[in-house]
Assembly symmetry: C2
Homo-oligomer: 139 residues x 2
Amino acid sequence: MNIGDVAALSGLPAKTIRYYEDIGLVKPLRSANGYRTFRESDAHKLAFLGRSRALGFSIEDCRNLLALYEDEKRASAEVKEIAEQHLKRIDEKIAELKEMRATLAHLVDACAGDHRPDCPILADLATKQKDEEHLKKTA
Amino acid sequence: MNIGDVAALSGLPAKTIRYYEDIGLVKPLRSANGYRTFRESDAHKLAFLGRSRALGFSIEDCRNLLALYEDEKRASAEVKEIAEQHLKRIDEKIAELKEMRATLAHLVDACAGDHRPDCPILADLATKQKDEEHLKKTA
DNA sequence: GTTGACCTTCCAGCAAGGGGAAGCCCTAGA
DNA sequence: TCTAGGGCTTCCCCTTGCTGGAAGGTCAAC
């Protein structure tokens, strides 16, 4: 298989596949003309990577997951550990975004959004920075 | 004020402040020895930027917000528009993360996490990529 | 033989800074 | 007066995970 074929199969852009070779995630063979030649197992790995990435795993996580996947003697605990860590990071990110969202929604609500210059959003952005310290100190 | 002072005031690292000057967000003066000299208004802007960034606005959003902030004749509608767009992006991101989270939590739950190699997480990562297409085609 | 679709490598860049080197500047203390 | 230290400067590379483009080789079809 050439890179185009495996790209179509895995759903990954050819550029991404070359990059994955670059960083050692896959090791396709080369044919006489210099083209990359992918085996079934390479296509399989790439699909695995695509799926892992889609779940938000970092490249380093993917590398570890792939190694575990290929290790017949792995302990599922190792896989679970990686997944749980990632789950935790996702939860943290969600919490962070929700907090932003709450503040922002509040401000958007308070803003008239008309032709006048008065704007609670700008007022908040302009004043909070010192008030926060103030509040902490005086609280 | 030197950069260290304004860094302490705004809570931004000196590196970040230099970067913000680089990309034209602030324009501190220079004293004879080459040191940056920040006015009150610069400190104010930097705090504004810090707060905007903390709410997740992109640098370009920040640039626009800052311009509106300084424009006495702005329409609050313009500010609101930027904030609403950002709110929308946050909501999309949260939705995306929640979907990842759901899948991942499901898999983690199903995994024994012991010394045995059998692992639903790996099984899922290994098979979903083609099944998905399959499902779409055969559905 | 010549298009046009592939494929190759390399270089540059995105966001939004962080790390660290090499080298001024300024002040305080012995 | 010298020296140590801390702060400041510029510069360039590193990060994550790719993406785009330029310059050029290859291959199958017409």
